[in-house]
């Protein structure tokens, strides 16, 4: 496969040095779950703040200076541009450091990197979103994008799950999508609690129960690897072909631009050839390395 042409993606990078981040300021922090926070941020440079655009599914490298960089998908929608958002689960060095920062703190951001969800391909189709845990973050960007252009798409199903009700992210969005009559929103948890009235069960299982039709449909999947591993076969049983399944992957990354070497799946680099892949593209390697 020829290496993806990325020339159009370089517009908002530092022009002399692609590794030099832009300074951004945290404007708001939302506690999504005990371990996940959403950060709203904006560039310090006014011109960049005005001009910056991206496509749903793209990501950025975020610096906590002195600690390092980490990769986050932009979780806000390009259709809602007054600030950018990403959601962070506290798991490692950078995410913990980020957790110690407050509103007004400066971070570094370089991006947008990576490809994006194929909007042209999705138009006019039925969309099935399948997400688990913080995996909703990258899909959220697309979902809002789709909802903001609702007439371009057909039926929308969203199956979203988390371990427990407290682990559900973006509850305010779940409510909004639940209230939207043009969207079939299904929320599930692995283990409910006394107040939980929704579904209980693993995402792939619930997905098969919801049983969206594969006809003129595309499934967009993101979640922990274990969920993804079981979701693809479930979709296959529902009649989806590998071309009809799209996912966005997460790997350890350093450079974000296909050079540092570690995020490959076969010959594809998640950072430059992805993070959005069709299952057809990666199925040779996915069983083994993802």
């Amino acid at each position: 496969m020829p290496v993806t042409d990325i020339s159009h993606r370089k517009k908002f990078l530092n022009q002399d040095n692609v590794y030099l981040p832009h300074i951004a300021v945290i404007e708001k922090i939302i506690e999504e779950t005990p371990a996940v926070r959403t950060y709203h941020f904006n560039f310090k440079d006014e011109k960049l703040r005005e001009e910056f655009t991206f496509e749903p599914g793209q990501f950025g490298e975020c610096s906590v200076f002195g600690v390092g960089e980490a990769t986050f998908c932009i979780s806000s929608s390009p259709t809602r541009r007054d600030h950018l958002e990403f959601a962070v689960q506290r798991v490692g060095k950078v995410t913990n450091a980020l957790d110690r920062l407050g509103v007004g703190a400066e971070i570094g951001f370089r991006g947008p990197y990576g490809n994006s969800f194929p909007l042209d391909f999705l138009q006019g189709k039925n969309l099935v979103f399948v997400a688990g845990g913080i995996g909703l973050a990258p899909l959220r960007s697309l979902i809002w994008n789709v909802i903001d252009n609702r007439d371009k798409y057909q039926k929308i199903d969203i199956v979203y799950g988390a371990r427990t009700p407290t682990d559900l992210c973006f509850k305010y969005d779940l409510d909004a999508w639940g209230a939207d009559k043009t969207v079939n929103m299904v929320t599930t948890v692995d283990r409910g609690d006394e107040n939980w009235k929704g579904k209980v069960g693993l995402v792939p299982v619930i997905l098969e129960k919801v049983a969206p039709s594969a006809s003129n449909a595309v499934a967009i999947v993101c979640g922990p690897p274990i969920m993804i591993r079981f979701t693809f076969p479930a979709l296959e049983r529902l009649g989806f072909t590998p071309e009809q399944m799209i996912t966005t992957l997460e790997k350890r990354m350093k450079c974000g631009i296909g050079k540092c070497g570690r995020c490959n799946i076969g010959n594809l680099y998640v950072c430059r050839d992805g993070p959005v892949f069709s299952y057809a593209q990666i199925k040779d390697f996915v069983s083994s390395e993802y």
Binding site: M1, V3, T4, D5, I6, S7, K10, L13, D16, N17, V18, Y19, L20, P21, I23, K44, S63, F65, G66, V67, G68, E69, V91, G92, T95, E106, G108, P224, P225, E250, K251, R252, K254, C255, I257, G258, K259, C260, G261, R262, C263, N264, G266, N267, R272, D284, F285, S287, S288, E289, Y290
Partner: protein, 343 residues
């Protein structure tokens, strides 16, 4: 074009003339390790011991550690600053054809899509003077990868040892400019050129180790899932970084921050796919198991890189074989790839 030659005794003179304009790098011993380092202006005794350097010349373009930028916080706001760059042009003298090819291979990654400013600045700033290899090692297998120890298109100027002289061949414009700077070169005769041809052929035939690169991508793809095979070949690997860190075509790197006395620096340093932490994420690691890492190293070089750039990311320099503490031999592993029907 008439070729030139120079007596070996005049070599120091030649380098001195170049050093008016260029920083000259020659094979050097630092402690007990050899690498391309700044010439001291006198000594050309490397001609006596030099076969190839332990640290590959990639290090002169992608150093083991380099500062990407520094950052400082004043008044609650960060200021980033790129490191000062040395703009002096450089000559790397006596690079071997295998290592020169390796740079051409690594170029593809660093030029691809997003240009890597650190590597390319050095690359564009450097003239390569090749020295034909007359004494390949037991571990060398360059001829299997389209490299001939005596010849190179990947340098700017090529020198070939002919008795007490070096024949000088201009490969690029930059090479010709180098030649034009030197006043007292001798004209090479036809006999010299014939002799050089002989030398090149002789060294070519001295390379005895080989691999079979035919259909190698398909072969590797067909056994990608053969866990048993990979486990077997990985068994004695100790997951150190020697083969990758010293490899002239392994360019993977890591990025780290440090704050020292309020001065912050972002470093990048060479990294290795042999290390388990290389791909480790807090929640999971796709290449936790050793055999997956060994497979990645091999497949990256012989399967993935050719898929992306149409060239195998190996030049057969043999460092990985010679320096491996357990004699893990990539040529044997490739020979032993399970033959599997494509059906």
């Amino acid at each position: 074009m008439a070729k030139k030659k120079i007596n070996k005794k005049e070599l120091a003179n030649l380098l001195k003339q170049w050093s008016q304009q260029f920083a000259i790098f020659v094979p050097s011993r630092e402690g007990d390790v050899t690498k391309m380092a700044r010439w001291n202006g006198e000594d050309i005794s490397f001609l006596d011991w030099y076969r190839n350097t332990t640290i590959s010349p990639r290090d002169n373009f992608q150093p083991q550690v380099e500062e990407m930028f520094s950052f400082q916080k004043d008044d609650n706001s960060y200021h980033l600053e790129l490191p000062a760059t040395d703009e002096q042009k450089r000559v790397i003298f006596a690079i071997r054809p295998c290592d020169a090819r390796a740079l051409a291979i690594v170029d593809k990654t660093f030029k691809d899509g997003y240009e890597d400013p650190y590597y390319l600045r050095r690359r564009n700033n450097t003239v390569l003077v090749g020295l034909s290899c007359t004494n390949p090692r037991e571990s060398c297998f360059c001829t299997s990868l389209g490299v001939s120890p005596g010849e190179s298109d990947d340098v700017d100027l090529m020198l070939t040892e002919i008795d007490d002289h070096f024949l000088i061949e201009e490969v690029t414009r930059a090479g010709s400019d180098l030649v034009a700077q030197v006043s007292d070169l001798e004209e090479a005769t036809e006999a010299d050129e014939a002799k050089a041809k002989e030398v090149k052929e002789a060294s070519h035939s001295k390379v005895t180790r080989s691999i079979d690169t035919e259909n190698i991508q398909e072969k590797l793809l067909s056994c990608f899932e053969d866990k048993e095979y990979w486990e077997e070949v990985a068994a004695k690997c100790i997951s150190c970084g020697i083969c990758t860190l010293l490899c002239p075509t392994c360019y993977c790197f890591d990025i780290n921050d440090e704050v020292f006395r309020k001065q912050g620096t972002r470093f990048r340093s060479c990294d290795s796919c042999a290390f388990s932490i290389y791909t480790s994420m807090p929640m999971e690691n796709p290449r936790e198991e050793k055999w997956r890492r060994v497979r990645q190293k091999l497949c990256h070089k012989y399967e993935f890189y050719p898929m992306n750039f149409n060239v195998i990311a190996c030049t057969g320099c043999g460092r990985c074989i010679r320096l491996c503490p357990v004699n893990w031999d990539i040529t044997q592993t490739l020979k032993g790839l399970p033959a599997k029907s494509t059906a």
